[in-house]
Structures are given as structure tokens and as C-alpha cells.
């Protein structure tokens, strides 16, 4: 190449390269219409009415399936497939008026016969519905016409409308129900596209959805990444757009300081508690239970086990709910008081107890901190970690434990302390009376007063050590809007999700 020809050739190459780069950069970025969401656990299958795994609801609730009512982002009961309903004066008859023109994803029409089928399936003798109890009060289901369902209850159930909005009560069609585990068919804004086992589930827009303006996205992909470090890598690498339930708390500050990302901290219905086995000494002695409550330092547990994420609780009720009473000050952290109470109960020389811990980090990490705190009050704690299967067998069913740490995630489940048998083994006629009245009350004001009473009773009796409410920490790219901030029910409802930039 001679001098001038060489320079011209080089110049041409540079110009070509620059043009190529600009072409590749594309037009001014059109709004993305797809979303990739990361989840820690893969659902075993996609039928929420046949298993308890929250992961199933996290993929399908309100995305693929809908129920008569639904729970919105704030935890309120709002119309779902039923656009309105009437409740009889005695609270025993519910008349649901269904939306018209709704179709299932396979093209068949939705009508009252499908509701009857779904509920009969859930409460039948062969039902494998994890929440069959929700349907227990139903005495009869009538379908006077395709758009009306009349449900008669055998007793008043204050939580009936809420329960019918849960993932276990979604409406399925008789034509497709048996295949829902692998090929879910519902009435929701997204249709099932494909499931690459172990890797991802893909959903696509349902063009026949009853609200033509929704959903705002064309495609949603759920990818399963169990390891917290891998979750962090995937977010930082940009492979995932949002991780609504992020478990690598220690890396949250990294995302907070990065303007590309946004961190949403919300609440869940998970009350994390240090459970006592009331069938065993010394837990039958209220002084011992109060002593342990005084020995606990909730803030230290939240800092150590949750890296500061989570609100302390003093009873079994979610702080974000209407009717919450702050009882965290009832047993302030006071090691001397704890020792005094233990001495009064005859355990001045200390106690030896076991603490059985299931796999989640809040239990394993929290358990170590609790053990250290109780040691200061003279209680020697032996930590026994175990898998879920063992925990269910030994602690939950076998009641072979002293203490354990677990998070109860069902919404409004303060009634578990009234259950008999239940793994706590707690019995209190006073408390039972309050719960019985609560179950039979529909009036919101009276319900609120009863919830407050129930919380106070549990706290005063120091039934268990109340630790903290599980937070929902979500990381997303800053340009996404419309994702749920909290988790009043397990869900990743992406109906409203969209990109703003």
C-alpha cells in the first residue's frame, strides 16, 4: 500500500466500522415488552390446587389462574372472576355474580359450572388440595345460571372471601384440570408457553384476556436460581431483570448504591417465632417462657440473621395489617430479669434445652444468635439442624422437640394457637373463646377488636418467643414498574408490570 491510498483505505475502514456500530446500536430504545424474573425455588409442578409449595403460586397466581376473588398487592380482597357478591344477613349464604365473556386458555367458556367443578374437586374425598380446610364450611354449591354461583355455608366463616382469593381456590376447568400440573390452563392474563425443567418457565400474553389493556407485557420468563451467590451474579450480569424475593441480603447495599437497580423492601405474612413445646417441662411454666422472652434481643437477631431486614414483632400478627398492636415492648431485652424469673421458677442453676432448626437461613442463622442470647441467661442450648422432611416428621408431627424456629406464612393465621392438636401443644380456654367468636364474626370492626384481643392474650401468656416478620426484599432493574412490593400472599403478579425506560 502506498501512502495516500493506504490512508484512504484506513479511513474507509474506520467509517465502515463506525456505521456498523451505530447500526448495531439500533434505533432509540423501544420499550421492552418482556421480563425475566428470578426465583429461588423451582415449583414441582404448576397446579396450585394440588400442593403447598409457594413457588407454584409465585409463578401462576393471577398470571395463569384466577379465583372468584383475588388478593391485591396491599392484601385486600377485591373482585376476581366474580365481579360482585352478596352476603346474606346471617352470613351463611354467598351469591357470586360472575363476569361474562371470560374464556379459559384453551378457548372454552368460563361459567358457574366451572366454579362448581373446581370447588367440588377441592373438597371431594380424592382431593389433594393443601388447603382443603378453606372449603370445609361449604355445605352446598348451586348454579342457578351460568353467571351466578350460590354457596351455602354450614357455619359463619369470617375469612371465607379471603380464602377464596388464595391460590388454592383458583378456578380450573374440567376439560383440563387433570393436566394442569404440566400444562396449566386458566383464565389469567398470561398463557403457559413452555417449561424447561430445572431452568425456566415461559408465559406469553393471553390475547383473549377479559381486560384488553392488560397485561402490559408480551412475555414473562421465570428462571430458577437457588444459590444466593448465583442470584447476585445473575442480577449483576443483567441476565435477570428482577428478583422479587432475593435472599442474598448481604449484597443488598451493593444494589442500593447502583443507580441501575432499585431495591424494594416490603413485608410478608411470615411471623418468625421461637416455638416452645408446651407439652414438656419447663415450658408449662409461664415464668420460664417470660424469662426466655426477656433474654431475647430481637434487634440483634434481625441484624445478625437478616442483615437488618425485617420488623420485630411482639405477637402473632403482621405489622402492616390493620388491627396490629405493637407488643414488642412487653418483654424488653433484660438478661437480669430473665435470670431472676428463671430462679423464681426453680431453675437458678440453669437449663439445658434443644433447638431444632429447619433449613432456611432465618432459622439457621437466627438459631445461633438465639442460642448465644439464651446462654447469657444461663440456658444452655443444643442446636440440631435438620431438613424439612425430618422437621415435619419429628417436630411438627411427632412433637419431639423443646424449641424450634420457624416462620408461619399463612395470612391471618393467629388461630393456629387455638388448634388442637398442633405442634405447640398450647391450650387456653380464654384464647379459644376469642378465636371461636372471631371465626363466627363477619363485621369488620368487631373482627378488628377481636384480633387485637387475641394478640394481647398471646403476648401476655408468652406463648412463644416472637421474633420478627419476614421481609420481602426485591431487587429489580430501575426501569421496571408494577411489581408487587409486599407479599400478602405468595405471588409474582405481573399483570401490571411494565418497563418505563
Amino acid at each position: 500500500m502506498t501512502g495516500t491510498t493506504g490512508m484512504r483505505t484506513i479511513g474507509l475502514w474506520i467509517a465502515a466500522a463506525a456505521t456498523a456500530c451505530m447500526a448495531l446500536a439500533g434505533p432509540a430504545q423501544a420499550q421492552r415488552k418482556d421480563l425475566v424474573i428470578g426465583m429461588a425455588l423451582e415449583p414441582p409442578h404448576l397446579d396450585p390446587t394440588a400442593a403447598a409449595a409457594a413457588a407454584i403460586d409465585e409463578v401462576t397466581y393471577q398470571n395463569i389462574y384466577e379465583g372468584l376473588t383475588r388478593i391485591d398487592a396491599e392484601g385486600n380482597v377485591v373482585p376476581g372472576l366474580a365481579e360482585r357478591w352478596d352476603v346474606s344477613a346471617d352470613g351463611m349464604t354467598y351469591t357470586f355474580h360472575l363476569r361474562r365473556g371470560v374464556k379459559f386458555h384453551d378457548g372454552t367458556d368460563f361459567d358457574s359450572a366451572d366454579v362448581k367443578f373446581a370447588f367440588d374437586r377441592a373438597r371431594g374425598p380424592d382431593s389433594v388440595n393443601a388447603q382443603k380446610g378453606y372449603f370445609a364450611p361449604i355445605e352446598s354449591i348451586e348454579t342457578p345460571d351460568p353467571a351466578t354461583v350460590v354457596i351455602k355455608l354450614s357455619r359463619v366463616d369470617g375469612l371465607f372471601l379471603f380464602n377464596m382469593g388464595s391460590g388454592d381456590a383458583v378456578i380450573v376447568a374440567p376439560e383440563t384440570a387433570a393436566g394442569n400440573k404440566q400444562n396449566p390452563v386458566g383464565t389469567g392474563p398470561f398463557k403457559f408457553s413452555r417449561w424447561v425443567a430445572g431452568d425456566r418457565v415461559e408465559l406469553v400474553r393471553n390475547p383473549e384476556f377479559r381486560d384488553k389493556a392488560l397485561p402490559k407485557l408480551d412475555k414473562v420468563t421465570f428462571r430458577f436460581i437457588a444459590d444466593p451467590a448465583a442470584q447476585m451474579n445473575a442480577m449483576r450480569g443483567g441476565d435477570i431483570d428482577a428478583f422479587p424475593i432475593f435472599s442474598a441480603f448481604e449484597s443488598v447495599p451493593l444494589f442500593q448504591s447502583d443507580p441501575q437497580f432499585a431495591v424494594d423492601e416490603g413485608t410478608t405474612e411470615g411471623e418468625t417465632i421461637l416455638s416452645f413445646n408446651h407439652r414438656r417441662k419447663p415450658f408449662d411454666d409461664i415464668r420460664v417462657r417470660r424469662a426466655i422472652s426477656h433474654a431475647l434481643d430481637r434487634q440483634e437477631i434481625i441484624e445478625g440473621a437478616q442483615f437488618g431486614h425485617g420488623a420485630p414483632i411482639g405477637s402473632h400478627f403482621a405489622p402492616h395489617r390493620d388491627g396490629y398492636v405493637d407488643l414488642t415492648g412487653l418483654y424488653p431485652h433484660d438478661v437480669d430479669k430473665a435470670k431472676a424469673l428463671l430462679a423464681e421458677a426453680g431453675h437458678a442453676s440453669g437449663l439445658r434445652l434443644t433447638l431444632k432448626l429447619p433449613p432456611p437461613a432465618y432459622a439457621r442463622r437466627g438459631g445461633e444468635i438465639v442460642a448465644a442470647q439464651l446462654a447469657k441467661a444461663g440456658i444452655q442450648v443444643e442446636i440440631i439442624p435438620m431438613e424439612w422432611a425430618q422437621w415435619l416428621e419429628q417436630v411438627f408431627r411427632g412433637n419431639d422437640f423443646d424449641m424450634t424456629i420457624v416462620s408461619h406464612v399463612e395470612p391471618l393465621d393467629i388461630g393456629i394457637y387455638d388448634r388442637d392438636p398442633y405442634y405447640f401443644g398450647y391450650k387456653s380456654p380464654k384464647f379459644s373463646a376469642v378465636i371461636t367468636e372471631l371465626n363466627g364474626t363477619v363485621d369488620p370492626a368487631r373482627r378488628k377488636a377481636l384480633y387485637e384481643q387475641a394478640q394481647k392474650l398471646l403476648a401476655e401468656d408468652a406463648v412463644v418467643g416472637f421474633l420478627f416478620q419476614l421481609p420481602k426484599v426485591g431487587i429489580r432493574k430501575a426501569g421496571i414498574a408494577g411489581l408487587w412490593k409486599s407479599a400478602p400472599v405468595p405471588a409474582n403478579d405481573v399483570t401490571q408490570a411494565h418497563w418505563v425506560r
Binding site: D126, S127, G198, R223, A230, G237, D239, A389, L392, R397
Partner: protein, 315 residues
């Protein structure tokens, strides 16, 4: 030859039967009710009973064992409790990830380790030998998942050249290989270390043989001696270990790496099935793995016999 194969087949059948008994008993003894695990703490007793009926768990143990063996012998593998899909399908999907991963890892390892081992043996006692030994020591000691995470931080986080994990499926071979590259390298480090050491000692042993001295005395150059005489004879132990490592790797040795890179492989399937008490998947998969390991060992023995005719001539 026929007698040899016949003996091996009988031994294989006996091994499989023994393995099936062990697996069955262990799963029976393992605490945990699959129905309770699947339906959770809110489930009613009648729902649990219904699910157990569906899963066939209401029969007594010996009846279930005999039914299972009968199914296996007729080639019918079960349907997973949790996934609701035939075990065969699940395994096929997972193998499509784990076997290529294991092969890539071994190919990389052998490509690196064989030359290194030969080099070390030929420079025995010198700094080159010492260097290879240090590399081998490091490779065996450094945990694969740590290497994996460092690779991800560098190549995905910082440079963005490779995906941080996941497997996009074989529909796009380029993306699939990109997804398997870093996991394969993480595994290969450990394997390369092992092979380097074995190659080195095998070559050293062979170098001491009389025929090597004769070849050198004949006037053959050092390099020619190495490649023409030494390597072929030193390969036998390497091939044996290669076969064993391959069987180990794709059976469950990739489990940790599969977790770091969230790959849907065999190791993860087995681990998930165990935690979920999906007894059908666990026992069918383990039986399959035992069978394949037996086959691989058989193949290795035949290959060994092909490379080294001496034992065969003796029988």
C-alpha cells in the same frame, strides 16, 4: 471371551439386585413423609391419606419392593411424585446437560494433563517437574465451586463475555456451549490435576522399563521413545481412571458445579428428589446409575484388554 462376558453379566445382575435392596431399605428408613412434605403443614389428614393412596404408599413395604423390581425388569420406570412426569423423561433431559458437561470437562482435563504429565516425567527432578506437581496439588485442593465463582465474577460480572449460569437448551448450540464452558473449566481443573499426577507416575514407571533402555540404546531419540513406546504403555492406568472419573462425574460429581451455575443436571435432580422425598425418582435414578457405572467399568476393562494384551493371553 464369551465366558468372560457371561461371568460379568451375572455379576452385574447380582450387583444391581443388591443395590436395589440397599436403596429401598435406606429410603424406607429415612424419616419423612412425602405426602406431608408436598402438601404442607395445613393439610388435612384425609387429604394426606388421599395423596398417599395416589402415590401407592399405602401398601406394605415388601409388596412395594416386589412391584418395583417387577416394573424395572419389564423396563417400566415410574412416574415422579413431585413432577408428575415419567422418570425416564426427567433423566433424559438432565443427562442432556450433565453428560456433555462431563465430556467437556474430561476432554479439557486430558488435553492439559497428558502433555503436562509426560513433560514432568521427562524432566523428573527438575523445576518443570516441580512446577507440574505444585499445579497438581493446587488443582486437587482448590474446591471447584470456588474456581467457578471466580470465573463467573470475572467473565460474567466484569467482562460480560459468558452467561453467569443457567442452560438455554440445545436449540442454540453456541449458547449451550457458552453456558457449559465455565462449569467445564471448573471441573477440569480438579480432573487435570489427578490425570497429570497419574500420567506422570505411569510414565516414570514405564521409563524405567528395559525395553525403553533398549530403544534408546538402539539410537532412537528421546522424543520418539516417549511418544512411540512409553506413552502407549503408560496409558493403561490413565484409561482406567478416565473411565472411573467419567462414571463418577456424570452420576453426581457435577452436583456442586450444577448448583453454582444453576444447571439442570443429574446431580441436582438426584439432590432435589432426595430432599423432596420423591422416592420413585431417587430409586429409579440410582438403579440406572449403578447400571451405567457397571457398563462403563465393563467398557474400561475391555479397553484395557485391548491396550494391554497380557492378562488376556494368560487366561
Amino acid at each position: 471371551m464369551l465366558a468372560f462376558l457371561a461371568r460379568r453379566l451375572v455379576a452385574a445382575a447380582a450387583t444391581l439386585l443388591a443395590a436395589s435392596l440397599v436403596v429401598f431399605v435406606v429410603l424406607e428408613v429415612l424419616p419423612g413423609d412425602p405426602a406431608l412434605l408436598m402438601l404442607g403443614t395445613e393439610a388435612q389428614p384425609d387429604t394426606l391419606a388421599a395423596l398417599r393412596r395416589q402415590m401407592g404408599l399405602d401398601q406394605p413395604a415388601p409388596v412395594r419392593y416386589v412391584a418395583w423390581i417387577g416394573d424395572v425388569v419389564t423396563g417400566r420406570f415410574g412416574v415422579s411424585h413431585t413432577y408428575g412426569r415419567p422418570v425416564g423423561d426427567l433423566v433424559a433431559e438432565r443427562l442432556a446437560v450433565t453428560v456433555p458437561l462431563a465430556l467437556m470437562a474430561l476432554a479439557l482435563a486430558v488435553a492439559v494433563a497428558l502433555p503436562l504429565g509426560v513433560f514432568a516425567a521427562s524432566r523428573h527432578g527438575g523445576p518443570g517437574d516441580w512446577g507440574v506437581m505444585v499445579f497438581a496439588q493446587l488443582g486437587i485442593s482448590i474446591p471447584g465451586f470456588w474456581t467457578g465463582m471466580l470465573l463467573v465474577l470475572l467473565f460474567s460480572g466484569k467482562l460480560g463475555w459468558l452467561p453467569s449460569g443457567g442452560f438455554p437448551g440445545w436449540g442454540n448450540p453456541g449458547a449451550a456451549f457458552a453456558a457449559l464452558l465455565m462449569p467445564a473449566v471448573s471441573l477440569a481443573l480438579y480432573e487435570a490435576a489427578i490425570f497429570a499426577r497419574i500420567t506422570r507416575s505411569a510414565v516414570l514407571d514405564t521409563l524405567r522399563e528395559d525395553y525403553v533402555r533398549t530403544a534408546r540404546a538402539k539410537g532412537l531419540g528421546r522424543r520418539a521413545v516417549l511418544w512411540r513406546h512409553v506413552l502407549r504403555n503408560a496409558l493403561a492406568p490413565v484409561v482406567t481412571i478416565l473411565g472411573l472419573q467419567f462414571a463418577f462425574l456424570w452420576a453426581a460429581g457435577t452436583l456442586v458445579i450444577e448448583n453454582v451455575f444453576y444447571l439442570p443436571g443429574m446431580g441436582r435432580l438426584l439432590y432435589q428428589a432426595i430432599t423432596q422425598r420423591d422416592v420413585i425418582v431417587v430409586r429409579d435414578v440410582i438403579l440406572m446409575l449403578v447400571g451405567i457405572v457397571i457398563l462403563v467399568n465393563l467398557a474400561v476393562d475391555l479397553l484395557y484388554a485391548a491396550i494391554d494384551p497380557r492378562p488376556r493371553a494368560a487366561t
